[in-house]
């Protein structure tokens, strides 16, 4: 009955050392050496401080910028310290109400736009931190963003199209637009830094 107890204890200790300590340490060391940017969270650093992660969505509500996926994290949306989904079922009235409210907010922000709203723009993502929207969802917002920033629609549209990430190898995943990076590009387009602006116009 107890003959295997001692080997079990020793084996567990050895495996803990090997797979619980050495293995993660080895992966961490190799990662920081080979892929230091990715291993630390793919942070965008500006003037010495982190201003975003390329991979983590932020919640935008200002009508002058592009909005991303709604987020179901608590206590506030886009809480990257506690990822979460709505887990609402497809027939749950709460889902229908939530989508209705998001549709209303988008319509109020852009009363002139009667086009159907791409579904990903009014449904929450699985992580609550999805940085992307579909190209359709970004293009839907072009008229509003262009008008409120006093920019030509064609320029904003071109900005969106340039930001579209295609399927990997033309096959995997879905075409998408990173809203965090798109809004940073929009910022540069709408408010070009003085010295950079003169250069760009040439």
């Amino acid at each position: 009955m107890f003959t295997q107890l001692r080997p079990a204890a020793v084996m567990l200790a050895l495996m803990t050392l090997l797979t619980g300590a050495l293995y993660p340490l080895l992966v961490t060391g190799a990662s920081l050496l080979l892929f230091p940017h990715q291993a630390r969270g793919s942070l965008v650093v500006e003037e010495g401080r982190a201003v975003a992660s390329e991979l983590i969505g932020q919640c935008f509500s200002d009508p002058r910028v592009f909005w991303g996926r709604p987020s179901a994290t608590t206590p506030n949306g886009c809480n990257a310290a506690s990822s979460n989904a709505s887990n609402l079922g497809p027939t749950n009235p709460a889902l229908v109400d939530a989508v209705k409210a998001r549709v209303r907010a988008l319509r109020e922000a852009d009363p002139g736009n009667a086009a159907p709203i791409p579904i990903d723009l009014v449904t929450t993502s699985a992580s609550g931190l999805d940085p992307h929207v579909s190209p359709a969802a970004a293009l839907f917002q072009v008229p509003r963003v262009a008008r409120l920033n006093l920019l030509e629609e064609a320029r904003v549209r071109a900005l969106v199209l340039a930001a579209v990430e295609p399927r990997t190898f033309g096959l995997l995943g879905e075409p998408r637009v990173n809203v965090v990076l798109l809004n940073r590009a929009l910022q540069r387009l709408a408010h070009p830094p003085a010295h950079a602006g003169t250069n760009m116009r040439q």
């Binding site: 003959t3 295997q4 079990a8 084996m11 797979t19 619980g20 293995y23 993660p24 992966v27 961490t28 990662s31 080979l34 892929f35 990715q38 291993a39 630390r40 969270g41 942070l43 965008v44 401080r49 982190a50 201003v51 992660s53 991979l55 983590i56 932020q58 935008f60 506030n76 310290a81 506690s82 990822s83 887990n87 609402l88 497809p90 027939t91 749950n92 889902l95 229908v96 989508v99 209705k100 549709v103 159907p116 579904i119 990903d120 449904t123 993502s125 992580s127 999805d130 992307h132 929207v133 579909s134 190209p135 359709a136 969802a137 995997l172 995943g173 879905e174 075409p175 998408r176 809004n183």
Partner: protein, 581 residues
């Protein structure tokens, strides 16, 4: 289905097969001690681990000794996980200063990780310290997967040995699985994932300054705290070991756990890689490769149509949203379909394919929220779990489960023609059939009794996150997932209360050990039998006829056991959806 959806599924299935065949024969060489090159490199590690474990750690064991070794090892592992969670507040590597985990969640998690279920009653980054994730969870990810392979090897010896008394040595099997298979594959996969953006650091959080302040619960937020940690090392083994317990609460939907379509494909391949490869290993170890191909074929015949079905179901528009002025159609510019609880980068195809794979295997990691799937799209993962986790299934456990079904299949065939059934030259007699019946009946019994109890008590129904038939699907999914050691969830259910932590904990124990014990007992009985030469009356167990018989048995047993319960959940929801105003 769109052309791209078909292509993504096809590429996945082909890539899986192309990787599984060579890996399977490599594993066979490892387990029969013929992988000379790897043994030269990793042999010293293998031998020193065994030497340190004890002087008699390589002696052959009888089946009861083997079973005791498995049980002691798993029991001590569970106790260690429990202790680390309870003590994490006073232990190092806790940069977010997380408090001790509650006793009931600690119990549930300890059982969950020891049994290779990885049901998560807790919310990853907000509950477990780095130390707990590493020393408790990552270790059990390796230990439970290696235990599964070991039990499979013991059963294989039951078939391959004749008139023998011992079924191998658990410690040797465990160490070989770890040193030659799980560790090297995890290392490679972890680094590949980091290259895609999965984080791997001992820092606690990164703080980023927001350009536009965000409205928070208590005033405006000007920064975003991003949880980090040694994620890639755990994600690699969670997929390869069919564990599924994510570092983050959102599991593989989290952008720092699965950032790109390529990382998604790699993780998706890792989910089914070892269970698929072990089919070919089995064929090589029993000296008849066709046997392994037949088992693989039977699994694929069930898996592929269900994967396509799930993609098609999720691509359908939600009729309740259709009149709100939204566009749910698939086009070149959007994935459309049922987008709630899905990530844009994976779309419908990547999410539905994952849901099918993770429930076919007893993996249970998710990259989309199954609770928000359409009724039929959610029925497919639920039913795949209920089939007993034998369509690929867990590492080791999927194949020993499928072998039990193979015995039942030859038994049924034997009844039809009135002959004593045989499998691989061994007569299948009353003892084997009794043990097989235990394996087939106990997990469904635990599932249905648990679901019945939960349906009629407020402790069972008040934690539900959705009303009506969908709420019933939630609790049925929870007990199916626990009793079949899958670990995924209809996550709207709040599983951290006393009732669910305890009830699911018991289901997980039954589903793991009341399968392992009968399987090892069967190995002990089979190895003593003589090998009967195949005669004209022997049912060949490698042709299309047997594949049909085997898939028929799996589907029939799964359907007969669970159709009444499924009818009350997803089926009612689908039908009522059509009738809603």
């Amino acid at each position: 289905m769109t052309g791209n959806a078909l292509a993504q599924c096809a590429v996945y299935l082909v890539a899986l097969t192309l990787l599984a065949v060579p890996l399977g024969s490599f594993l066979a060489r490892v387990f029969s001690g013929e992988a000379t090159l790897s043994q030269r490199v990793l042999g010293p590690l293998e031998r020193s681990l065994l030497r340190l474990t004890g002087p008699r750690s390589e002696e052959e064991m009888t089946w009861p000794a083997y079973a005791l070794a498995v049980l002691w090892f798993n029991l001590l592992g569970a106790l260690a996980v429990y202790a680390l969670q309870r003590l994490q507040a006073v232990l190092p590597l806790n940069p977010a200063s997380l408090p001790a985990v509650s006793p009931e969640v600690s119990f549930n998690t300890a059982v969950s990780f020891a049994t290779n279920t990885n049901w998560q009653a807790y919310g990853g980054e907000a509950t477990m310290s780095h130390l707990t994730q590493m020393l408790a969870l990552t270790v059990q990810n390796f230990a439970s997967a290696a235990s599964g392979i070991a039990v499979l090897l013991a059963l294989v010896r039951g078939f391959s040995r004749a008139q023998a008394k011992t079924i191998g040595n658990f410690w040797a099997d465990l160490v070989r699985s770890l040193v030659y298979v799980l560790l090297p594959l995890s290392l490679v996969l972890a680094l590949a994932l980091v290259s895609q953006g999965v984080v791997q650091t001992f820092e606690g959080h990164a703080t980023v300054a927001l350009a536009d302040s965000q409205q928070g619960a208590a005033g405006a937020l000007t920064t975003q705290e991003i949880a980090l940690g040694p994620v890639a090392s755990q994600v690699a083994i969670k997929e390869l070991g069919t564990n599924g317990g994510g570092y983050f609460n959102a599991n593989s939907a989290h952008p720092l756990e699965n950032p790109t379509p390529l990382s998604n494909l790699l993780e998706l391949l890792a989910i089914l890689l070892l269970p698929a490869a072990l089919c070919f290993t089995f064929g090589a170890l029993v000296q008849d490769k066709r046997q392994g191909v037949a088992l693989f074929a039977a699994m694929m015949v069930i898996f592929a149509p269900l994967a396509f079905g799930c993609v098609a179901a999720e691509q359908r528009a939600n009729p309740l949203l259709a009149r709100l002025g939204v566009d749910q159609e698939v086009s070149a510019e959007q994935a459309g379909g049922n987008a709630e609880g899905k990530e844009v980068r994976f779309g419908i195809t990547g999410s539905a394919l994952w849901a099918t794979a993770t429930t076919a295997a007893s993996n249970g990691s998710v990259n989309a929220m199954h609770d928000s799937f359409t009724p039929l799209g959610g029925l497919i993962p639920l039913w795949l779990i209920q089939l007993g986790e034998v369509v690929f299934g867990g590492v080791g456990s999927g194949l020993y489960g499928m072998l039990v079904y193979a015995l039942i299949a030859v038994f049924i065939a034997g009844l039809m023609v009135g002959r004593t059934p045989e499998y691989l030259g061994k007569k299948i007699e009353a003892f084997e059939v009794k043990m097989s019946a235990l394996v087939l009946l106990l997990p469904p019994l635990a599932t249905l009794l648990g679901a019945a109890l939960a349906s009629v008590t407020s402790a069972g129904t008040s934690p539900l996150g959705n009303p009506g038939a969908h709420g019933f699907s939630e609790l049925l999914y929870a007990f199916s997932s626990g009793a079949h050691n899958n670990g995924s969830a209809f996550g709207g259910l709040t599983a951290s209360g006393t009732f669910y932590t305890f009830a699911i904990g018991v289901c997980m124990l039954i589903g793991r050990y009341w399968v392992i014990i009968p399987v090892l007992a069967m190995a002990g009985s089979l190895e003593q039998k003589k090998r009967v030469p195949a005669s004209a009356g022997t049912l060949p167990t490698h042709g299309p006829l047997f594949v049909t018989l085997l898939t028929g048995t799996v589907l029939l047993v799964g359907a007969l056991t669970f159709i009444p319960a499924l009818a009350l959940g997803p089926v009612v929801e689908e039908l009522s959806r059509a009738a809603l105003p």
